[in-house]
């Protein structure tokens, strides 16, 4: 599920058991998305219950959460919740806001195949940067920290998109027909390769051209 970051009829779900942090995050989101409906959950169980009422446009979660009320916060509970979300809701935009983001390396294969926006925000980020990660996820973009990779990890199908775009000059629709996937999948491959090349939206810059520059610098295209 990807969408532009319009605040009209936007539904956000924030999962965090630390009341003060949750309160601050919700206040920041309310300021940025004043018309949004913001729901909260303090446990993995409560989060799944909220999701059973209908998927939000974006789910923002901490990793260290209790499984159920009265239980202690544990990384494993957050990791398992996220694992099930990635498996059951491939179209759900997700932001992981946590002090334990490095634990996400355990879910790298699942994150790599997620079809919607997925960004990782260290909880220590300034609020504005956190809100940028929320905006990116709502737009279907992907952001994973550099230290979760040992180098540039690019799949063959993403390389093919680069080749067809920059050597053959094809647009997304033509690329989709060429490689026999949906146009939406092509756009998703773009976000994957941009994350691998650490190319993200910047004011005044064309992201596709930035992608081409970085791809050539890394020798991915001639």
């Amino acid at each position: 599920m990807t969408m532009t970051s319009s605040s009209e009829s936007l539904k956000l779900l924030v999962v965090d058991d630390h009341e003060a942090v949750l309160g601050g995050t919700v206040m920041a989101l309310e300021k940025t998305y004043p018309a949004a409906q913001i729901c909260t959950a303090g446990t993995a169980q409560a989060a799944l219950k909220e999701l059973s009422y209908g998927l939000p446009h974006l789910l923002m979660m901490d990793l260290s959460i209790p499984l159920a009320p009265g239980e202690p916060s544990e990384i494993d509970a957050g990791i398992e919740l996220l694992r099930s979300l990635l498996a059951d809701h491939p179209d759900l935009n997700i932001v992981v806001q946590s002090a334990h983001v490095r634990s996400l390396v355990r879910l790298k294969p699942a994150i790599d195949t997620h079809q919607a926006g997925f960004t990782i925000a260290d909880k220590n980020l300034p609020m504005q940067e956190m809100l940028t990660k929320v905006d990116w996820a709502l737009k279907g973009l992907i952001y994973t920290p550099r230290d979760m990779r040992t180098g540039i990890e690019v799949k063959p199908e993403w390389l093919e998109v680069l080749r067809l775009a920059f050597k053959e000059g094809l647009q997304d629709k033509a690329i989709a027909e060429e490689i026999n996937v949906a146009e939406r999948t092509v756009r998703h491959y773009w976000t994957k390769v941009q994350d691998a090349l650490e190319v993200y939206p910047e004011a005044g810059k064309n992201i596709r051209i930035q992608t081409e520059i970085r791809a050539r610098e890394e020798g991915l295209i001639d």
């Binding site: 601050g24 206040m27 260290s64 002090a99």
Partner: protein, 220 residues
Amino acid sequence: MTTDISDPTELLRWWHQYQAQMLTQEADFVRNGILQEIIAIRRRLEVSCPLQPHSTTSACAPQLADLSRLYSLLEGFCDRLQSPFIADSLPLALQHAVQPWQAPLSLQVQFPTAWAPDPLEQAQLLILLIKALLSRLATWPYPPQSSALTLAAVASCKTLTFQAQYAAPLDPALSPRLEQTLQPFLETFRRFAPAHAVVLFQPDGFSLKLGWESLSASSI
């Protein structure tokens, strides 16, 4: 899984794993408690502080900067208690561990994307070995011209290789001290896994190659 307390190697392994669990608990205590409180204070300041007149900068910018510094110090402390990624990925753990020395030692790293997990005590030992090695090299009279750290695996055989090349011949007195630093790590590692190590000193360089049979975490 029960520990054979009559086997010194198994006891050593148990002690290593037990210490690692204790340190993880302490690191999690800081992350889940103190760091969360700092984040909460930060968020309250960011949301409630007005902007400075005719500026987009928060009036609380100095306090926010102080909080960021405090957070970084505590996060660094957590990372020293338990190396990041240690339980999940040796390549990522090594990549993180060597960061402080990459520039000073002109260190290039080459790590694979995929890597079968190692038992925690083995991974920890390797991290500590490399940290001890690089710390020692950083104290030498002059840095290497270039150095390289690589990880490789072929089937169940894994190797960790370090090489350093210097522009001028090294003081021969440095080699024994380095070997003294490395040998306890290497000998302890050999207790945990079938392993062999070759440490070579040349007039203008040094290399270490450690190879071991992969005993996956699940087989211990």
